[in-house]
Amino acid sequence: MSVRTALVAAGLLALGAGPREASGPQSPPPTLAELRAEHETLRVRLEAAVQRDPLATRVLAGEADVVIAIRTDFVESLLAEVAHQYFDEVVLDLSALDADADGEIRAKALGGLSVGEWQLGVTIERLHGRLRAGHPSLRFHENRVDVELPVEVLPAPGRIALDFGWDSKGLANVVCKDFDVRQVLEGRVLGQRHRLSLAIQLSSGEGVLRATPVLSERVVQLRVDLTPESWASVAQALEAQDSLGRCGILLKPERVLAELRALAERGIPVRLPDELVRSVRLPAQLAQQVRLGARDVELSLHRPALRIDSDLVWSSAGISAKAGARPPDAAPVASRAPVPGSA
């Protein structure tokens, strides 16, 4: 070194903070030659140890400018909390959902001939389903996470429309009139538990690690029921058709009621809306701008890559930088007040 001056202050650093052997105050500081020798020995040992480290060698083989590795168990805990919170207070408007059933009535007295067909339609006029989520189980599978989420549907009241139609056939058609009955009744969603299956796809674009859920099963059978008063009202309406001219005598209202109860028990198929699931950014991101001194430095990412192995989610990219313009009023920036007592 051809240093002549100006190193005194910095040299003091070595006296105060440089490495010291713990051999006591008499031990002289290592000479430059000794430092170089120890430095070289340590460097070689470190290099050899690094080559044996599977994680280090994996990073070094990638040749990316930035690598982010996230433990999968942390990603799991994060996504589990997200899924739990996200689905915990969801309200679904179930209006206009419908289900139907139909059947055929055959008369023994007529040798088993069909005397008519009935159709039963159930339409939800006004009902909101409220979901509460349990704690999900997650399993990593290549670039995606399979999620099983227990969801509880809370009981909720609403209005349900029933449409019953009778279509006479054959000989019965001669004497029986067709008829339709429509009733709007007080009903409710029953408290029930379901398991939602989701696949969360992990992706990396523009430096953003994103988790995008996709519902594996979009249709849920939602069990509903009528109030006891509504059931009585339905029975009464069907029995009112139980006359010779209306062919209710063939229809057997109790049979229709049983079909209706079975339909409610099976549930109304609810197609979960697309907007129910949304992608979310994971908290570790590659930034596209940094600030150095008074300048904003714009960055562009190259070869962004995402990889998942048994215990790590890897995101990496090459990065090129171009300096942004320095704000005209920002330079010079480093003026400092004199240190009291400085020479």
Partner: protein, 248 residues
Amino acid sequence: MAWRHSLYALLVVVGGGAAAFSCRRLAPPPSAEELVLQREVQKLRAEVEAAESGTLLDFDQMLVVVDQELVQRLLASATPLEGDVEGFHVRIDTARAEFTNGVALVHLDGAASVVGRAVSADMSVYGGLDVVELDPASGVLRARLGVYAVEIPKADLLGIDQPARRLTKALAEGGLEALLGPIEVPVRIEDRLRLPALRTRRVRIPALDVPVAATVSSVRVFAGRLWVGVKAKVAVEADKDCADGAKG
């Protein structure tokens, strides 16, 4: 930053002509190479010990690895850089980064002149990314540059020997940081995971807000890279349980 405190303390000792230092006055001050080697040896010992015991990359939840070439490019994009420090005009023309030997070494070359005087001298600053942290506001990973040594080879010839000592001290005690600022690394660890509320004809979903507590827990420097371990946890569950408990 212990070394800064040590530097300051020793500068005070030198300024006062303390007896403890007098025996060393006979020996030439350590060169920049020596100062850097001392730091690297100190760090290398720790890295080798960790590497040979299999704990070199024993990170918690996240590991961020930054290539020295990227840091060098970032620094290059910020140069030339100039400003006034303690009565000096300092200009940084080039920057090099070397992350191979336990220390995230940054070597800045430029010139310094006393404000108001025409004469200037070439200057080299040897520093290192000593403090790596997450910016509390933005979550951006950033590093603070500590000064290990400043060389102004012709300071005596140019007659700025004494002032140059002040410059060294001023750069070490925040002047360089004021000039360059913290070095931001393009990685952001956000402190929460958010989704806005959704209200459509079919669905009502409240806003999602999952806090994530993250801190830098380890820093290693080897193989041309800065290896930063980050400890992170989802902070909501305990809080929620506490809140529920308090309600109950």
